[in-house]
Symmetry: C2
Subunit: 299 residues, 2 copies
């Protein structure tokens, strides 16, 4: 591969990229740590389209499978359209309370106070750009097309959220536009093609208050050096416990550390160590692969 | 929702978050724009684990559906394991050349020159944390669970890639670990559970050369204000043209703008305007929804 203006023999071996005048990591981590899901915005604020354009510019630079760039950004900043999009999400929330196992959804009326709502559309036709298996390998590659398709969208959504923070604004991340009914209702309002869906919707505004971080697993629990550490496996009982007893608090309480919850002993119960430390599986064994395979195939 | 140390009546309404001492956007955009897929690293380099830990710390702060944090990071930095992981990806590349429609894959022997390889595992059992439809809505929500699952992983992968750049290193993004055969071979080496797969693999190293950006669609082509602009629709013929005539160049040539390619007229052919400007669909009409629905259902 040849660089513009450089021959193949010009080796450039910077310790840091030549563009970095100073260490950009601390600033990046500040932005990354301050991306929050904010659900209460100051009403009546406005931002210029120049700011919204800067935010979407960051989304444009996300990586994508086969460089397909299979996204479009609909930016809603007029009052009438914003109200109609809000109403579609209010109906989505109502369906979520009725047609779904209990899920701790919040009321989405806060969408009325956004300065803008950015919908990140993904167009499924672009999966044809990714590796297509033939014969026996067909299913394998089709399944992985989903991975490539969505992870690329996730990168674009994340870039947009980070740029939002860097522009002094806050956001959230709504995934409900990926549901059939909500996608159809949003399509009525926003006229996007049938091959596309707003898999991620990012309401943007000035926070009415700047909330603290939500719970994060300790880093030591996530890192496995040179192989998976079996005592950092999260057993099924821990997942079930999370869904039943912890999820609604872990989603909304403004504490990075569960151990700062005043009722931590009640909430985390027998799994307190698993929510607060490195070890989530003190027995240190993974499920028998054959049993796990059976369970997986049952799903 | 209450903040630690602040009562509900303390309104904080900063124009920019209080942590931002100066405008962090330019630095963020520099990092975002310099994330590259680099496939040639300087051999024989090392980084301390402290640096790799800083990189994974950024991944930890990614958002996830229901705050499930359904990821783990396997960081490979020992020589023997690195070679075995490289070999698994060399076999994956060979299968890609044999069992897949022609795809412009590059040889992955460059993995040997990484300072580390971070594999981002996603564990599918955590989908149970996301909204689960009951009755008629079941399929709708199950399908959207895929969106939530993968987009969250994409955000974590993107954070890791951005932190890599901010630490003066470069990366790439391999999705092949999501394929059945490759996942099984990596599981043999790294011992992760059957419920998990390395959907994203991020080789990290010092670039042997720092390549320019690859092609990006013009921003004006991606942005739609308050509704989808039909003349920015990408027709099926344009997607087919991309796959057949442009993809292998758009993936690897170090030019942001297709118009800088010396052979742009040959490569982009009748679609040159669609690769270089706002308008991709001069006819300005979307496909008939009924026809599109038929086509979608055929897939």
């Amino acid at each position: 591969m040849e660089m513009r203006g450089l021959s193949d023999t010009d080796a450039i071996t910077p310790a840091v990229p030549v563009w970095a005048e100073s260490d950009p990591y601390p600033s990046l981590l500040e932005v990354v740590r301050h991306r929050r899901s904010v659900r209460k915005f100051e009403p009546g604020r406005r931002v210029p389209r120049e700011t919204l354009t800067k935010i979407m510019e960051a989304g444009r630079w996300a990586p994508s499978g086969a460089n397909a760039q299979h996204w479009d950004f609909i930016c809603v900043d007029d009052d009438d359209t914003r109200v109609r999009v809000r109403d579609a999400f209010l109906r989505q929330g109502a369906r979520l309370r009725e047609g779904v196992e209990p899920f701790p959804a919040v009321n989405k009326s806060f969408l009325a106070n956004t300065v803008a709502i950015i919908l990140v559309l993904g167009d499924e036709r672009f999966k044809s750009c990714f590796p297509q298996g033939v014969g026996a390998a067909s299913d394998e590659y089709t399944a992985n097309n989903e991975n490539i398709f969505f992870c690329s969208l996730g990168a674009a959504i994340q870039n947009i959220q980070l740029a939002t923070v860097a522009c002094g604004l806050t956001s959230a991340w709504l995934s409900g536009g990926g549901e059939d009914q909500t996608a159809d209702e949003l399509r009525e309002i926003l006229h996007f093609p049938l091959s596309a869906r707003p898999y991620g919707t990012i309401p943007i505004g000035y926070p009415a208050r700047y909330p603290d971080s939500k719970w994060r697993r300790p880093l030591a629990q996530m890192i496995h050096w040179n192989g998976f550490a079996a005592d950092q496996y999260r057993p099924q009982e821990l997942i079930d416990h999370y869904v039943q007893d912890v999820r609604s608090f872990a989603m909304y309480r403004p504490f990075e550390h569960v151990e700062d919850w005043p009722d931590v002993d009640d909430r985390a119960g027998p799994f307190k160590a698993a929510y607060t430390g490195r070890v989530t599986n003190p027995a240190g064994a993974l499920p028998d692969p054959e049993v796990a395979r059976d369970e997986r195939d049952r799903v």
